[in-house]
Each structure stands twice: as C-alpha cells, then as structure tokens.
C-alpha cells in the first residue's frame, strides 16, 4: 500500500509538468493550430524561472517572468502561423530548436546550482486522516493544485461557455465560425498565447518543483511526450490528466528499478516512457482505426477568408 502511494506521488510529481504542457497544447490545438514548439518553450520556461528565481528569490516574480517570455514566444508562433500562414510544423520545430539553443546559452552560468523549496507546499492536515490516498493529497505543492483546478476549468470552459463553443467551432470549421461572426484570427491569437504561457509554466514547474537544478536540455523529450499526450487524450483535458500521470509513472518507474539495484543498464530504463509512447500509439491507432480521432478538423490548416469555397 505504502509503495503504491509512493509510486503514485512520484507519478504526480513527474506528471504535473507533462499535464500543464499538454493542457496548453490542447488549448492551442483545439483552435486549429499545431504546436510542436512545446519542447523549446518548456526549456525557455525552465531557464527563465531559474534565472529569475536565483536573482530575486521570489516565486511570483519567477512565474511572472516565465509568463511574459512564453507569451512573447506564443505571439511569435501565432504571428507566423495565423497572420503569415507559415507552415505550422516548421514554425513549431523552429521554436523548439530556438528554445533549446537559447536556453543552453543563458543557462551556462547557472548550470548545476540547486534551488530547493522554490514552490511552497500546501499542507492540509485534515486530509492525512482520510484513509488510503488521503495522505497523498495532504502535502502537495501549489502548482500541482493549480493543475487540478486548471483541468476542471478547461473542461468547463470548453463545454459550458460561449467562448468554449467558439473554440470548438474554430478548430473544426473556421469558415463557418467566421460567417457566424466569430473573430477567428483574434481567437487563435488568444489561444496560442495563453496555451504557450501554460507550456512555459510546465517548464518552470519541471525546474522549480520536480528537479530543482538547471541542466542543459533538462526537459529530455518531455515536450514531445506532451505532444503525444494531446493525441492520446483526444484533445480532452480530463483524459490529459490520466494520461499525464500514466506517463509520469513510467518515467519514475525506470528510476525506481534502478534504485532496486537492477542489472539493466540505465539507458534502457530511461527509454521506457518513449518505448511506451510508440507502443501506445500503435495500440491506440489499431484499436481506433475505424473511429474519428477526435482531432479538430481544421488542425494545421491556415484559414484565409477571401478564398472561394
């Protein structure tokens, strides 16, 4: 029982950055824009959080800086893909390479400096008495709680608000949404910007809460896992939560097996999440080969109003 709780706690800790990144990606992709810059944006989020926190010792300022930088990156992606109608895949890949390069350069002086306890924990003693999983939730950090709220908020936003309806319409059929008087371009700008801020926050969470030392390329492919998670979760925030924790668990599993003194080389253990990504893609692809994927219909297609239909 204790082992299970421990494992789940570890899965949550490692799954939260994935979850935040996937939620940001869902918001962006629901509006019809592909976002492959997750990895780079997470790295930028992490390094900005690291630099600001080391200088100011303030979590609020660090997050503020992360939001500002990610918003700028998001606006750039939106400008390229929405206004200039550049290829969304190329723009996203450029964002990833740019983020990796710049964060490595900026991170040179702070590499290896630890910064524990950046994110305060929310201690809820009354939860400890709840049997089974109660202890699990009694001592979580603020960002994890924020991610829970975010999942719920996004679910309600998508299905219970007028803007959510607009979002679903724009991602599926921008021409129709336009005729109905919804400002497609402006809405996409908003989604890409806010979604990018969440992705930046995912990077910050990775650094501040999960492994509090800057190392070059520390996301180690988590951004790509988040991109895959969006697909597994079928663009649904609640399913994103389950998928993120599942992958978080795989991530920690390798580490645990190593601790148990296994003979398997650590390189193989580190491969587990990525191998499972491929496996799950294969299994899901096979199982749902006759079903719609749940992907927004207009994902990746730039919208031009003047084009004759």
């Amino acid at each position: 029982m204790d082992l299970f709780v421990q494992l789940f706690a570890a899965a949550m800790a490692s799954g939260t950055p994935l979850l935040l990144a996937a939620l940001g990606g869902i918001l962006i992709e629901r509006s019809g824009i592909i976002q492959l810059g997750v990895e780079g944006m997470m790295l930028m989020g992490a390094i900005v959080a690291c630099l600001t926190f080391l200088r100011t010792e303030s979590l609020a300022l660090a997050l503020l800086a992360v939001f500002a930088v990610s918003a700028v990156l998001g606006l750039l992606h939106a400008f390229l893909t929405v206004s200039l109608r550049a290829n969304q895949i190329v723009s996203g890949l450029a964002m990833t390479l740019f983020g990796a390069g710049l964060s490595a350069y900026l991170g040179k002086p702070v590499s290896g400096i630890p910064m524990p306890g950046a994110v305060p924990k929310l201690y809820l003693p009354w939860l400890e008495n709840v049997p089974a999983a109660g202890g699990l939730f009694a001592n979580l950090d603020m960002l994890t709680w924020f991610s829970f709220i975010l999942v719920l908020a996004m679910h309600l936003f998508i299905h219970r608000t007028s803007w959510g309806l607009h979002l679903r319409a724009i991602g599926d059929n921008p021409a129709t949404a336009d005729v109905m008087g919804i400002r497609v371009q402006a809405f996409r700008y908003g989604c890409v910007t806010v979604g990018s801020m969440l992705i930046g926050l995912a990077g910050a969470d990775l650094l501040l809460a999960f492994s509090p030392t800057w190392i070059e390329g520390m996301t180690a492919g988590r951004g790509w896992i988040a991109v895959a998670l969006i697909i597994f979760a079928r663009w649904n925030p609640i399913r994103a939560l389950l998928c993120a924790y599942f992958f978080g668990m795989l991530d920690t599993l390798g580490f645990r097996i190593q601790l148990l003194g296994s003979e398997i080389p650590s390189y193989f253990l580190k491969m587990i999440p990525y191998l499972v990504t491929i496996l799950v893609l294969m299994v899901l692809g096979w199982r749902s080969r006759n079903k719609p994927s749940g992907a927004p219909e207009a994902l990746g297609v730039p919208y031009i109003r003047e084009q004759r239909l």
Binding site: R168, T176, N290
Partner: protein, 510 residues
C-alpha cells in the same frame, strides 16, 4: 420609388481578377414573395447573392435594403440587417450539435449551464416546429442526413432573425420528397412576410414554387417577370440564349454481351460503416446503365470498388471474362476500366501539373510514352496536342496548370485521358457536376459515343434528368443496394424518386 421592395441591388459589378462575374446587374425582390433567380452554372447568380449576404463585396453599384442604402461588409453585417444565406455547401460545424450550431453566433451569456442549454433546446425545437422543419436538435450534425442539415441551416438563419432568406441551389442535394417538404416550408416563410430568394437552374422548380422570376445569363440580368407571365419554354430560351441540340436520346438498340457482372458485393467505408450491402448489377457492351440515387448511398464506394480503389469484404466482380479477386487499380486499368471520379480535382487531376503530365498519368508505362523509365517528351507533347484538339480542351498552353482551366475543360481533359486508353467500360461519377449546359452536353455526347462504339458505360449521377436522358437501363441505389431497376424508355420519374427516397411501393400507398 421604393414600391415595397425589401431588396434592391442596383447596377452591381463584380470582378474577380480579370473575370467579370457580374456586369451592371439590377435585382429587386419584395417581402412576402418567393423570388427565383434562374441561370446556368457560372451565370453569376450565386455571386450576386454572395454580395447580398456579405461574403463578397461588389466592385461597383449599390445595395439597398428596405429602401435604404446598406453598407454590407461582412456576413455579420448582412445578418444584422436581416439577410441570411443558406449555401449549397452547408456552413455547419460537423462535431457540434444542431443546437450548438444554431446558437454559435450568440455571444452571451458567457456561462452556459445545463438549465440554459435546456431552454435553448426548447426554443429551437419550437421554432423548427413552427416552420415544419423537423430534425434532432441535440445530435451532432455529422449524424444528420443532408436534408436534415439543410433544415438546421434554415432554422439557424431564422433564429438569427433574418427576414430576407437566400437559398443557393437548395434542392441540388435533396430527394424529390425532401424538395416538396422544403417548398412547403418556403411557402410558410412567405406567408409570414419574409423575402425568400432561391437560386436555381431547374426550370420545373421555378415553375413550382416561385412568384417572380429573374433570369441571368453570363453575368447579366436578362429578364424579370411574374411566373404567370411566362412559360417553361420561354425561360429555357432566356436562360440558355441559343438552342443547343440535346444529345441523342437513348434508343432501343442491340445490346452486346455482358461486360461487367457484380454479385453480392459488400463494401465497408471509413469508420467501419457499411457502404454497400449485397449489391448486384450488370453492364453489357453497347449500353449506358444509369445509377440514380441521393448522395451518400454508396455511389462513391461502388465506383471506387470497380476502379480498384476500394476492397470488398464479400461478393464477386467479374469483368470481360476474368474475375477480380482483390481491388487493384492497376488490374482494373489494364483490364480496360476507365474511371471518371466524382471530384475531378481531388482524385482525377493534379491541379498544379500541366496538361501533358495529367494526360500521361495512366499511360506513362507504355513503350509509346516512355523507354526504360525515361519519358519520350517530344513525342508525348505531340500526342497531348492531338488529344487537346480532338477533345476541344480550351487551354492557353500544354503546360498550363490544370487548376486554372474551367470546370468544363478540366472534365474534357479527364475524359480525353480516359477515352484515349480505349476502355471497354467507362465508370463515370457525376460527370457533369458543376458544368454549364454547353459543357454538360459535350460530356453527354462523349458518353453516347462510347455506347455507339460498343463500350459499356456505368453512369452514376445525382442528376436524375441526366440519368433519364442517357440511360438504356436505370438502377436506383439506396442504402448501398440496388432497390429498383427499369428500362430507360419505360422509366417513370415519380416512381424513381420514391425509390431514391427509400420508399417502396407499399410506402407510397401510406
């Protein structure tokens, strides 16, 4: 001056690049009338209506609504002024429910709980009932039939408060029965004082529903009159301008030996949907077999199976003495089956490539066209040139991207490629869709020529008139099976319409 006109479009000019779509067109419609805007494809009637509904902006001229000049810059502006348009291709978001689609433009309130949604559902249901438009209000649109989707569109327009309702070719996707129902709805809208404008090229419809008729031809307004002042014959003359001889009608003639025999074919489409179930048909040499039906009843899958593009689960396809075991495009081509697909720019031609390359697609392997994998360019160009001349493809040059050709010329090019292979069987799907009457007649002549030279033709079309005019035998496809067969000369339009709608003789009696 106004005389009760709700819509007045004065001296409208619209230019697309170098093409003049509308040349100083005047158009007026009153409240409480159904006004038919009649014209061939490309006559400029849809362009006119798109300007009225804000999709395009006129290059010149003015639009007046209720006697006042209207500055319509976008569909949103038009909607505010009470103008709503129902397009031929529906503007619906497939994944949203009917109700969600209808309330999509509404911006308030921000929060939409279950209670709010429930009142909206009721409101929309009662609005739909008032105009006799039944559809499931809370199901996603992709689950609805085409007729139901059109009703959603109409309710959407009414819900947003339109008193001027434009329908662009509203019956092109409907069964005859559904069309009747639509006309009843239009009459109801008229009686509530709305201005109803329909664009169409079907004379029968115009005579059946409209009060006033305006005829357009080649971007100009030719005439406008009350229905009582005119006849079908006169309208046809006004619409076409000159009399074009019709393709020779199907005659009773000697039919050759069986060419294609399909037995008990079961085909599954995307998402595991059964598209064809136990379908059997036969095509003989020297006959045109017409397959009539409403879109989405398995026509596309039938054609694709015969062309080797789609595999079948059960059943046999025998062609000219051999039996196809599996679907293979190459085998079908080499056996002598030609295929003119329903969407010529998607699966027929490569839009960015030139005439020569498009003509070569099915014959580039032959020794006349290539040697050891190298194309015999000079020879191929000369060959393409003769085909272009023979089939009268109007093009600026042999290297012009075919995307830039008109629909009629694209179709001629496609036929040139398919016929140049000397096929035994031609499978033509909606061969005249989107073509004007002249180009359509040309296509009809080609099909008749194929028959005269002893080939078999399987003509799959939603245009019942076309099927009736050309076919020796007519089959009706419904729900993936052939439900009715008749000789071309004995065909009864009404009966075929009933079968197309899935009603049997018994159903007719009810």
């Amino acid at each position: 001056m106004n005389e009760g006109y709700t819509v007045e479009m004065k001296q409208i000019v619209k230019q697309f690049g170098s093409v003049l779509a509308n040349d100083r067109v005047d158009f007026r419609a009153r409240a409480g009338e159904i006004h038919a805007l009649l014209g061939e494809n490309g006559a400029g009637k849809s362009t006119m209506m798109c300007m009225l509904s804000g999709v395009y902006r006129p290059t010149g001229g003015g639009i007046y609504l209720h006697g006042r000049q209207a500055g319509i810059r976008s569909p949103k502006d038009a909607m505010k002024l009470g103008v709503g348009m129902i397009f031929q291709s529906f503007r619906l978001v497939q994944s949203l429910t009917a109700t969600e689609n209808i309330i999509l433009g509404e911006s308030s309130p921000f929060w939409r709980g279950r209670g709010w949604m429930k009142t909206k559902l009721e409101e929309i249901r009662s609005l739909a009932d008032r105009f006799g438009l039944a559809f499931p209000v809370d199901r996603p649109v992709w689950e609805l039939s085409v007729g139901e989707q059109q009703r959603v569109e109409i309710v959407k327009t009414l819900y947003r408060g339109a008193d001027i309702v434009i329908l662009d070719e509203p019956t092109s996707v409907l069964t005859p029965g559904e069309a009747e129902q639509l006309f009843a709805t239009l009459a109801h809208m008229k009686s509530e004082g709305k201005t109803v404008i329909i664009t169409t090229h079907k004379l029968k419809e115009v005579m059946a529903v409209s009060d006033r008729i305006s005829v357009m031809r080649k971007g100009r307004m030719i005439a406008s009159m009350a229905k009582s002042e005119t006849t079908e014959r006169e309208l046809a003359r006004l619409m076409i301008g000159k009399q074009i001889p019709a393709a020779r009608p199907a005659q009773a003639r000697s039919i050759g030996k069986p060419l294609l025999t399909v037995k008990h074919l079961d085909v599954y489409a995307e998402h595991g949907r059964k598209a064809l179930g136990d379908l059997s048909l036969q095509v003989n040499e020297g006959e045109i077999v017409g397959v009539a039906g409403v879109a989405g009843n398995g026509q596309k899958e039938l054609a694709e199976s015969l062309a080797g593009l789609r595999s079948w689960k059960r059943g046999t396809v025998a062609f000219d003495g051999m039996t196809f075991k599996t679907a293979s495009v190459r085998a079908a081509m080499e056996a002598g089956i030609s295929h003119v697909p329903e969407n010529r720019m998607r699966s027929g031609l490569a839009g960015s490539l030139g005439i020569v390359d498009n003509l070569l697609f099915k014959s580039y392997r032959s020794p006349e066209r290539s040697t050891l994998g190298f194309m015999r360019t000079a020879r191929n160009r000369a060959w393409a040139q003769t085909l272009v001349e023979q089939f009268d493809v109007r093009t600026p040059g042999l290297d012009t991207p075919v995307r830039q050709l008109s629909g009629g010329n694209q179709q001629k090019l496609l036929f040139a490629r398919e016929i140049s292979r000397d096929p035994k069987l031609m499978v033509a799907v909606h061969p005249t869709q989107g073509l004007d009457i002249g180009a359509a007649q040309g296509v009809h002549r080609l099909l008749v020529e194929l028959r005269e030279t002893g080939r078999g033709v399987l003509l799959i079309s939603e245009d019942l008139d076309e099927v009736l005019q050309l076919s020796n035998r007519i089959l009706v496809i419904f729900g993936g099976a052939i439900v009715y067969e008749t000789k071309g000369c004995e065909a009864d339009r009404e009966r075929i319409g009933l079968y197309m709608a899935g009603l049997t003789e018994e159903g007719e009696a009810v």
